[in-house]
Symmetry: C2
Subunit: 289 residues, 2 copies
């Protein structure tokens, strides 16, 4: 197994979101020689879109993705329309930041404004997701912005994303046609017995314009025990995922893109000195990924 | 949708394990008119196997399953042998209690005695599971005790069971031949886009001796939010699973067996009066399942 190309390392800004503002994260990337970044919308909004675009360009950094669009299902027409409008703005922002794609966390069972799930119709939610992406593609294709579906771990099927395997995401892409691809985040898919096969399938597929369907590769680790369903992701090497193996499947499928570190960790990495976090991302990327 | 036959309700003894001993659970079932039970080995061991068998028979109760064998992967030959011996004892106990099957939670990545995961080789663990079940079948087939593989939710892939979808369990059954079937526990499989298809596939398959591969149907609910990966299961109706829909798929696949309620709930149902828990299981089974 070859070691990963250090220049492929990208920092998803959620990894140090508790400690640093967007400008501080950009400065940190420069300081640590990390040339790629995947910003979150709320962090960009706080710092200003144009200002962030300028800072990123001045720093000589490029995006590996933009987080995130999606959340398509809603209980009524007004909610569907609000999601559509918000997703169009996300496409515009991704374009302003010269992102290679807009990452989609597709949403799940429809909720009321307070966040209570209103329906048990999972198949219906999946149909809303399909329809929502299809409609967004009418806007994103002319804008030249690829949409990247991120299948989320099945433990998020009720409240975050009802696309829960790479196979399901591939099926969706087959149905939706050009302009849409997938993100492979090890945290969500490492357990899947069909993972190697579905990565190969995504690698063979054309997302349009000669682009591969494999639009991103996200890294972190699965801790044993995991103490929180959302905010207890591990640093690469601290958990049980065979990262070099999954990377080898990505590379065999033709993927040559960024390796984006995305760690939600309320109890550990969000408590640490962010310079230590970035240094650890770099060293772990070089040694255990 | 028809309402479920109340006589199919079964109580998995984990549901009130924090409050009651095995004899108290049996008495409780009698008091509440619940004619089926699925005991756990440790609870039976505490009360005595022969004594428990006698009490169950005297109460006119029958088993829906026996929990549990499995945990096949181990880091060395001694561990593999210990698992084999323990699983043979589990087969004997299941026979002594006249259980219709021995439920298998198959185990996952090999651990040291302190419970630390020692390997990231998930495919290797899955091979150990296949080999372990194959060997146990040599013992279970002559004993006339069917083995029932329970696919567990992917969030348990590292530490509890590396069989994580019904499709994967069906593949394993195809490979292993007669004497082995599956348990469909809604908590583990409700999210799976292939669930309806894989239930139908299991229903078509013969597990030997004219027995269906569908050996059990377990009920509880998925709560939003879920606050603990293991001990925060919901009572039927309190979560987001479309229970009548999944029951309809089971029935269309020919399943006519028990509906076993299995709820691990440290913060809620394990804190309540167990008579209230049993009464709630009965009423919810009648109204929301």
């Amino acid at each position: 197994m070859t070691t990963p190309d250090p220049s492929l390392l990208s920092l998803n800004t959620a990894t140090v979101r508790a400690q640093w503002t967007m400008p501080e994260i950009i400065d940190g990337c420069v300081r640590h020689g990390i040339g790629r970044i995947a910003p979150w919308r709320d962090q960009v909004a706080k710092a200003g879109l144009a200002e962030t675009a300028r800072r990123i360009e001045d720093a000589g950094i490029v995006l590996s993705g933009y987080c995130r669009g999606g959340m398509f299902p809603a209980p009524d027409a007004a909610g569907i329309k609000a999601a559509r409008d918000d997703n169009r703005r996300a496409v515009d922002e991704a374009a302003a930041l010269a992102s290679p794609c807009l990452v989609l966390v597709v949403g799940a069972l429809p909720k009321d404004p307070a966040g209570h799930v209103l329906s048990r119709d999972l198949a219906g939610a999946r149909a809303m997701v399909r329809d929502g992406i299809a409609e967004l593609l009418d806007y994103a294709r002319p804008a030249g912005m690829p949409l990247a579906i991120e299948p989320l771990h099945p433990m998020y099927a009720a409240d975050r994303a009802c696309v829960n395997t790479l196979g399901q995401a591939n099926d969706l892409c087959d149905e939706l046609g050009p302009g849409v691809g997938v993100i492979v985040d090890v945290y969500h898919v490492w357990w899947d017995p069909a993972l190697e096969r579905e990565i190969a399938r995504a690698g063979r597929a054309d997302a349009g314009g000669g682009r591969s369907r494999l639009m991103g590769f996200h890294l972190c680790d699965w801790l044993v025990p995991t103490t929180d369903l959302l905010l207890d992701r591990g640093m690469m090497g601290d958990g049980v995922i065979d990262l070099p193996l999954i990377r080898s499947w990505m590379e065999r499928a033709g993927y040559r893109g960024p390796h984006e570190v995305e760690i939600f960790s309320a109890g550990n990495w969000w408590q640490r000195d962010p310079d230590e976090v970035l240094a650890t991302c770099k060293s772990r990327h070089a040694t255990v990924c």
